[in-house]
């Protein structure tokens, strides 16, 4: 936004936009002239105020003993009691651990695999096949987690799932994948990878396509093989975008939602599935303890912001890159 502003100020004519030099006019005159612009934008600005800003104000609930139906000033303020209470709950630490572990696993997998996939795909010679793979690999991104969960349960089921059929065919015993809490982290991460592999690769594919082809030609002349080209040209060529995306996802580490866990969990694996937001959902909405629910949300955001600043700080020191 701001770049365009700076290019315009100081120059009199930009692309014919301001043909007549503008004189200073009265506030109300301008207001009347721009009445349609105001009418077209202000009602929606009010909606943003209501649906995006009021919930931020709602963080105050974390410091109240919130009673539904009472007005804001009629609520009892309890200071940090909700937080102190929260930090004494063993389940809170369990939820924190679940959130961080699953987020880290998914971060690792969602960085390495899509990059590898994008590089391999860009090395593909046969155009038609390349396009087919691309088309197919985006597909799971567009189906909901509800559908994906159904598919995962089906694929991993003991009686009809292909994985267990393979295991049985090789003489092994069928595994009840969905009923083992030890496996839940891996199932969530695997399902995430299945759903988002192709989609996450798009941005790297675009970055690879933007690399100057002459660099590859020059490397070939210098005798670099396929691995040599990938290592010396493709990877350095996309490192910039990788670092930016990495910093952003570290900031989002704790915020990556609960849809996957919510849809994939069952009562047997609940202890591994409950992430912070599900914990907030359970206390806040199902048990009407809104103060604690909001406190969990605040903790969530604070941890997330801290992670973002730390990650950004480390990367700025090491590479000179920064996203903030």
């Amino acid at each position: 936004m701001s770049e365009r502003d700076t290019t315009v100020t100081g120059t009199t004519v930009i692309a014919g936009r301001r043909m007549v030099p503008r004189k200073r006019r009265g506030f109300f005159r301008t207001l009347a002239e721009q009445r349609f612009l105001f009418l077209m934008s202000m009602p929606f600005a009010v909606m943003v105020l209501i649906f995006n800003y009021l919930p931020i104000w709602g963080w105050t609930v974390a410091f109240q003993k919130y009673k539904p139906g009472k007005l804001f000033w009629a609520q009892t303020w309890v200071g940090l009691a909700n937080f102190i209470d929260l930090f004494q709950q063993p389940r809170f630490y369990l939820a924190l651990q679940n959130t961080l572990t699953m987020s880290l696993m998914s971060l690792l997998v969602n960085f390495t695999f899509p990059i590898a996939f994008a590089i391999l795909l860009s090395e593909m010679r046969w155009r038609g096949f390349k396009r087919l793979i691309q088309t197919v690999s985006y597909l799971p991104h567009f189906v909901s987690w509800v559908v994906v969960s159904g598919i995962v349960y089906r694929m991993l089921s003991t009686d009809a799932g292909p994985i267990n059929q393979i295991i049985s065919a090789m003489g092994g015993k069928p595994i009840q994948f969905m009923a083992q809490s030890n496996l839940f982290y891996f199932i969530v991460t695997g399902a995430d990878l299945w759903k988002e592999l192709g989609w996450n690769a798009i941005i790297y594919l675009a970055a690879i396509a933007a690399i100057d082809p002459e660099l590859f030609e020059a490397a070939k002349v210098d005798g670099a093989g396929r691995w040599g080209q990938i290592w010396n040209i493709t990877l350095p060529g996309i490192s910039h975008i990788v670092i930016i995306l990495l910093i952003l996802s570290i900031g989002n580490l704790i915020n990556i939602g609960f849809e996957r866990q919510f849809q994939l969990m069952n009562t047997i694996v609940l202890d591994r599935a409950q992430v912070l937001e599900l914990y907030a959902l359970r206390y806040g909405i199902q048990m009407n303890n809104f103060g604690r629910g909001a406190a969990i949300g605040v903790v969530n955001s604070v941890v997330s912001l801290t992670l973002l600043f730390v990650a950004n700080g480390i990367f700025r020191r090491k590479t000179g890159e920064s996203v903030m």
Partner: protein, 301 residues
């Protein structure tokens, strides 16, 4: 070394590399497609026969009975209609709102421009979270209300900025001359800018539509107690979870009875296919526009 040869046999590892690469790609293809084809095969197979297992990607005994069953009972048809309605209305209103705000921001001389830009940009980074959002919706009386599908996400800052960037790239002469001819800002928006913005509106519209069609959480948390507002995703979720955990009590007795007639697996798979079908229909467009949209977003960000 000729050029054609060098393309294929440049280094000694070239052959093995290509072969391994092709194998990996075929593996990705199979792993991605097989589950969908398997679900489709079961949904099209005789339900009693499916219990025998061993179905892969072709139905053994072809039948449309499973689809007839789900289209004739319970909440599925109504839920599908609600899903379609929220997708159509939600997408349309969101496009109207976002393009209007984008149009106002696109005017350099617009007085509220700087403030409005910042006001919107903040929402990209800060959000209230689950509980305050829930309390707000409840206070506003949007519980058990169709509007909860439409209003909260209608004005989206990211989409506004993408549309605004596109509008900034349009040739300005048409708008100037319309203004000289006496057209007001709204007429210019309606007659000139919107027709020119079709590509970006298609992109954003598809984004929003897929999000609307796929969302289930708002139904679960705000509208679960009103079956008339249930969506297809939520119905599918209930069917999947009731059989996954064996908790049929959470489910209407009417449905349980019918599920005993047709194997739950066939039901689940048929509903899954119906839930995916609209996505598949728009998928060719999605692929074209989504990728472009992602690139627009990336360039901007």
């Amino acid at each position: 070394m000729t050029t054609t040869r060098s393309k294929w046999f440049f280094s000694r590892s070239g052959w093995t590399f290509d072969a391994v690469n092709a194998l990996i790609m075929i593996l990705v293809l199979v792993v991605t497609l097989y589950p969908f084809l398997n679900v489709l095969a079961i949904s099209l197979n005789d339900s009693k026969d499916s219990v025998r297992g061993g179905l892969t990607i072709f139905p053994r005994i072809f039948t449309l009975e499973n689809y007839k069953t789900i289209l004739n009972f319970g909440n599925i048809p109504h839920a599908a209609m609600i899903s379609a309605l929220r997708t159509l209305i939600g997408t349309f209103l969101s496009l109207v709102a976002c393009s209007m705000v984008a149009y106002a921001l696109h005017h350099r001389e617009f007085m509220g421009r700087r403030f409005l830009s910042r006001f919107l940009a903040i929402t990209l980074y800060v959000s209230g979270g689950l509980i305050p959002g829930f309390l707000l919706i409840r206070t506003l009386g949007l519980m058990n209300n169709f509007l909860v599908y439409i209003l909260p996400g209608m004005v989206n800052a990211f989409n506004i900025f993408v549309i605004r960037t596109y509008m900034d790239g349009l040739p300005h002469e048409l708008q100037e001359s319309a203004k000289i001819d006496g057209a007001n800002d709204f007429m210019i928006f309606r007659r000139i800018v919107i027709p020119l913005c079709q590509p970006v509106l298609a992109t954003i519209g598809l984004f929003v539509a897929v999000g609307q069609w796929n969302s289930w959480f708002d139904t679960y948390i705000y509208n679960a107690s009103d079956p008339n507002l249930s969506t297809l995703q939520y119905e599918l979720m209930k069917v999947l979870q009731s059989t996954q955990t064996g908790n049929e009590a959470a489910y209407g007795s009417d449905v349980v009875q019918r599920m005993q007639q047709v194997s739950p697996e066939s039901i689940k798979m048929a509903i899954t296919i119906i839930t995916i079908a609209p996505i598949l229909v728009v998928y060719p467009f999605l692929q074209r526009y989504f990728v472009r949209g992602l690139v627009i977003g990336a360039v901007k960000g």
